[in-house]
Amino acid sequence: MYDVTAPRVLVILAFYAALLMVIRLVKPRIEPYERRTAVAIGLGWAVPVFVSNYLLYKAGLMSFLPWVTNFMHTFLWIGICLTFLYLGVREDQPMPVQILLFATFSIIVKYAEQLAFGTWDLDHFFHIFDGNFAYVLGWSLADGTYPVITLFALRLAATRIPRLAVT
């Protein structure tokens, strides 16, 4: 059903790398004092999303993501690339811009993965809106909430975990 082959995986990895290069224009590197925060954000998103993707598939609300693509999407894209993006824009961009940025990057990546693997192929978004476009767009807009959730989650985590860089 899905076409997950090594060359296609490499193409998507290259695509992630290209997007990361773009993201790094905003923030070239993660400062030493931010590393702990970056790990917290990355793992804090990757692990739950990896699990949620499968559970939502079982619930019929998401299309299946083969384990390799699920891993790539959650750990490499969300865990690394989006963490970089968030740390780069959280201080300088107003929240609406951050939301727009995350939603835009999300829809780009979803369509790229769909093109490469055939994933993200469900035809409804929570049975509220029909069609694959609604599905991809709906989840991309949902991904736009990343900076809002991260902001508050990080503030909450900072009350327990020391040396997190919060804003």
Partner: protein, 950 residues
């Protein structure tokens, strides 16, 4: 007996009155006609989309032309009505275009096929009936306008022959060329229905004639606008082409355009025709806009404002600065303002642009032309009715209009009184031109000893130090010196948002110096724009621009801080710090200085008050050898004011070589906090004035950026979350009384700006004599229009005294919606009552001193000539919408308290919950002082330096 003689001509005045009334009637008729035409435009626009006559409106391009036609005629009517003297020719154009319309329809009736019926939805008359009706209507309009125009004696003002610039010549040629093109277009529309190859396309004759009229009107307008003095008429041409684009787009989206019509031997799709019209009109709009913009830019040479804003500014300056002997033309006022605003560093400069754009367009809501197109008298009436005395409801709109006119008034005064040409008329002399200047043998200052790194000298992306101090003012300066002394090995880094202006570069140009030395160039206002919050923003901070007046922190205030707010200050230590700072800065009574010439009047008046009501004297200040230039508030060029710029900062670099580094033009945007117990600061993110970002790392961070900026920095960084950051903002609220004395000029500008104080037996306020160079004085001068102008003409005979009231801490610093910090403060009734009490006593003092009148700076026009009238002050001061208030002493926001619920910093000035973040400036005051706060800020900095350990 019937006289056969010609009746005598009425006397000129009577004739003039008749003409005036005729003009008023004509103007009203034009505005009514414009209103009806705008309604007609709405009908045309909606015709193809809704209603029963969609079949009649079936050719969208012609319908769009019809909407444009009525709109452009309506705009011409408005422009004509606004200034019949200047724009009388437009009435003739409107009449002419109606005659063209009649001619076009007449020719259709004579030569085209008009026998068929048209479906109007409610009736089905023949096409000829519709055309006859339209002709009758246009004829009636032309007749009425002619009948009204004749007695109005419209004359064509001959243009003043002036040499045209290259741009103006090009514009003229361009407009004449387009006039010809539009005329050709009119002919093309007219002959369309008569050709076999196009008669099916041009079949809806009423709309075709509308199209003829539209392009004829545009042709005449282009020809009219070709004269440089009529360039403003390009705006309606652009506007109607934009309208055409919008209407075409609307039809493309919502109307049925999916059909073809025969034209010139082929079939054309209506969709394609609409796209073509949209593109063509869009291109015309852009080209006209660019040409007009280039012409206006050539005229004004603006650096910051758009041409339309410059016109608005010129128009408001023309009426707001009103007098018989105006020395600066309104166009030059606008140019002065533009030049000055372009130089200031303010986040909210765009508000000026929005305000001026709003002023320009506001009259159109009432079927009047843009403000700059209204005749001066009517413009003044409009500003008076709609802005000076705006309708009370809705309050939001009322307040907004008041803000707009206030901004326009301030800009006008800045442009007029900042211009040297106005000085002679008000009796002002810059220091260097005063007679005594030559006798003083004032030396020209040399290079300043301070070493300051400007952004261009810094190539690294990270700065490191042991202690980083944000701000270089009263708090920061003393901290730098004392911390360098207390920690012999420590490297101190000071980051200053403002510029480093060497004192030798201080000039007598008041506006330029305000722009360079003040936060937001005087644009720092409270959120409701009722209250100006002055703050220096330069190396040396507010100490560079304040009056250096020193008062010890009042004991009753310190007791309240330690009692009610649990500040936990060691008052003994603090007292020693006060003494140390006094000694460090040589704070002395200014008895030997060149005191303000108004001082004797003030002291004389105070002497006539009942004994014991007021303790008056000469202020103490960190000033030595003052020349009395009166430039304290725009920077003392000669180093006589011992500000941080002259003392603590250079002395710290001298006494602790290579350990105190100052970086200017560097705004700290964020404090990066690491979580934990306690929290730590990971670093600072700062931005240079050139836009580059830089990281800063230190072992200790001390925020000393002033009440507003310090609180805002914490708020935007999320630092101190859970603490009352930005709360308890208070100030020494000030309002001046200006007194006018007959006789010899006082020349209050020629001496120390603040030289005398007064402390009443009944506490709550203090008096300070106070006078400014012309711009600042004009901004605080009561009165509108001629009244303000006349008051300023008395400048040399005036003195002013301010009442300072320490307010409650009911304000707060917020993140403003308009960007940057916002000051949310509205004085409490109790504070306003105290202010009123102070003003009444001061009024008595000034009248006793012999003032002929005493004026209160308020929205309304208030002056008092007798003591009995002073009771009214209670009523005026009770209304914060009326009385004009301001402060140069913002305080609070990060109160000091042992209790984290009450304060942001603990008694060692460390932010609660942090290991390495401190605040030390006026923001730590838990309540206002009432007296000038600089000595208290410096003393607290001296006190805090002993408590900041590495």
């Amino acid at each position: 007996m019937v006289s056969t003689e010609t009746p005598p001509r009425p006397p000129p005045a009577l004739q003039q009155g008749k003409t005036q009334r005729a003009r008023q009637r004509l103007a009203i008729a034009l505005r009514v006609l414009a209103g009806l035409l705008f309604l007609g435009a709405v009908v045309y626009v909606l015709g193809p989309l809704v209603g029963p006559a969609q079949d009649f409106f079936r050719e969208p391009p012609f319908v769009s032309n019809s909407a444009v036609k009525v709109t452009v005629i309506a705009l011409a009517c408005l422009y004509a009505a606004g200034d019949l003297d200047r724009r009388g020719a437009l009435v003739l154009i409107v009449i002419a275009v109606h005659l063209i319309s009649i001619t076009a329809m007449g020719s259709m009736l004579l030569f085209a096929e008009t026998g068929r019926d048209v479906d109007l939805g409610f009736a089905e008359p023949s096409l000829s009936t519709v055309l006859w009706a339209a002709m009758a209507l246009d004829g009636a309009i032309a007749l009425v306008l002619t009948a009204l125009a004749l007695p109005a004696r419209l004359s064509r003002n001959a243009p003043v022959p002036t040499p045209l610039s290259r741009t103006a010549r090009r514009t003229k040629v361009f407009l004449i060329a387009f006039a010809a093109l539009f005329a050709v277009g009119a002919v093309a529309y007219e002959i369309g229905p008569f050709l076999n190859t196009s008669d099916q396309f041009f079949r809806e004759l009423p709309f075709v004639t509308n199209s003829v009229v539209k392009v004829s009107m545009l042709a005449m307008l282009c020809a009219y606008a070709a004269s440089p003095r009529n360039l403003a008429l390009v705006t309606p041409i652009v506007a109607v082409h934009v309208l055409s684009v919008l209407v075409s787009a609307l039809y493309l989206i919502f109307a049925d355009t999916d059909y073809t019509l025969p034209l010139l031997g082929g079939d054309v799709s209506m969709t394609d025709v609409l796209w073509g019209a949209l593109t063509l009109d869009g291109a015309i709009a852009v080209i006209f806009f660019l040409v007009a913009r280039a012409a206006w830019k050539d005229h004004y040479q603006p650096k910051f404002f758009a041409p339309a804003q410059m016109r608005a500014l010129e128009a408001v300056a023309d009426v707001l600065v009103a007098g018989e002997d105006e020395r600066v033309p309104p166009g030059d006022v606008a140019r002065n303002v533009d030049r000055e605003v372009a130089e200031i560093r303010a986040q909210r400069r765009w508000l000026y642009q929005v305000c001026l754009a709003g002023m320009q367009l506001r009259p159109m809501v009432e079927l009047m032309p843009p403000l700059s197109e209204i005749e001066a008298g009517a413009r003044r009436r409009f500003l008076t009715k709609r802005f000076k005395a705006p309708p009370p409801w809705p309050p939001f709109i009322k307040h907004l209009t008041q803000i707009m006119i206030r901004i326009c008034q301030q800009l006008s005064f800045v442009g007029y009184y900042g211009d040297r040409r106005s000085f002679e008329s008000i009796g002002y002399q810059p220091f260097s031109e005063r007679a005594r200047f030559a006798d003083l043998h004032v030396p020209e200052p040399g290079p300043h000893p301070l070493k300051v790194d400007r952004p261009e000298n810094i190539g690294v992306k990270e700065l490191k130090a042991d202690i980083c101090i944000i701000g270089s003012g009263a708090g920061g300066g003393i901290l730098a010196y004392e911390l360098a002394k207390a920690h012999p090995d420590a490297e101190i880094l000071m980051l200053e948002r403002g510029q480093y202006v060497e004192p030798r570069h201080f000039s007598e140009d008041e506006v330029a110096m305000i722009g360079r030395l003040y936060a937001d160039g005087l644009m720092q206002q409270t959120e409701d724009w009722r209250f100006t919050v002055l703050q220096g923003s330069c190396v040396g901070g507010s100490t560079t621009v304040n009056n250096a007046v020193c008062f010890d922190p009042p004991q009753r205030v310190l007791d309240r801080w330690n009692g009610e707010y649990d500040a936990g200050l060691d008052l003994g230590d603090l007292s020693r710090s006060v003494a140390a700072v006094r000694s460090f800065l040589s704070v002395i009574p200014q008895k030997d200085a060149v005191l303000n010439p108004s001082g004797p009047k003030y002291l004389g008046g105070a002497g006539k008050l009942p004994a014991g009501r007021l303790d008056v004297g000469v202020v103490q200040a960190n000033i030595q050898g003052c020349f009395g230039s009166g430039y304290c508030n725009i920077g003392c060029k000669w180093g006589k004011k011992l500000s941080m710029l002259e003392t603590a900062l250079p002395w710290a670099q001298r006494d602790f070589p290579d350990r105190v580094r100052i970086v200017s033009d560097c705004e700290v945007e964020r404090i990066v906090t690491l979580s934990g117990h306690p929290k730590r600061v990971a670093g600072l993110r700062a931005k240079f004035a050139d836009g580059r970002k830089i990281d800063v790392r230190a072992r200790r961070y001390v925020v000393a950026a002033g009440s507003v900026a310090s609180s805002y920095l914490l708020l935007r960084s999320g630092a101190g979350r859970g603490l009352p950051v930005g709360k308890r903002f208070a100030c020494n609220m000030g309002a001046p009384l200006t007194a006018d004395f007959d006789g010899e000029p006082l020349n209050s500008f020629d001496g120390l700006q603040i030289s005398h104080f007064g402390i009443p037996s009944d506490p709550g306020f203090v008096f300070e004599t106070w006078f400014n160079p012309p711009v600042s004085q004009a901004l605080n001068m009561p009165g509108w229009f001629e009244r303000h102008f006349e008051n300023m003409q008395r400048y040399a005979h005036l003195m002013a005294v301010g009442v300072l009231v320490g307010t409650e801490g009911n304000g707060r610093i917020v993140r403003a919606l308009t960007g940057g910090p916002g000051v949310d403060f509205r004085p409490k009734p109790h504070d306003l009552q105290t202010l009123a009490r102070g003003l009444r006593l001061l009024g008595e003092l000034l009248l006793e001193a012999g003032a002929q009148r005493v004026m209160l700076n308020a929205w309304g026009d208030y002056e008092f000539t007798e003591r009995s009238q002073l009771a009214k002050i209670d009523e005026i001061a009770a209304d914060p919408d009326d009385i004009s208030l301001g402060t140069g002493h913002p305080q609070g926001g990060n109160a000091i308290s042992r209790d984290p619920k009450k304060g942001v910093v603990d008694p060692s000035f460390r932010v609660h919950g942090y290991e390495d973040l401190y605040i030390c400036d006026a923001s730590v005051f838990p309540g206002s002082l009432t007296v000038n706060p600089q000595l208290t800020v410096m003393s607290l900095a001296h006190y805090a330096a002993q408590r900041i350990a590495l």
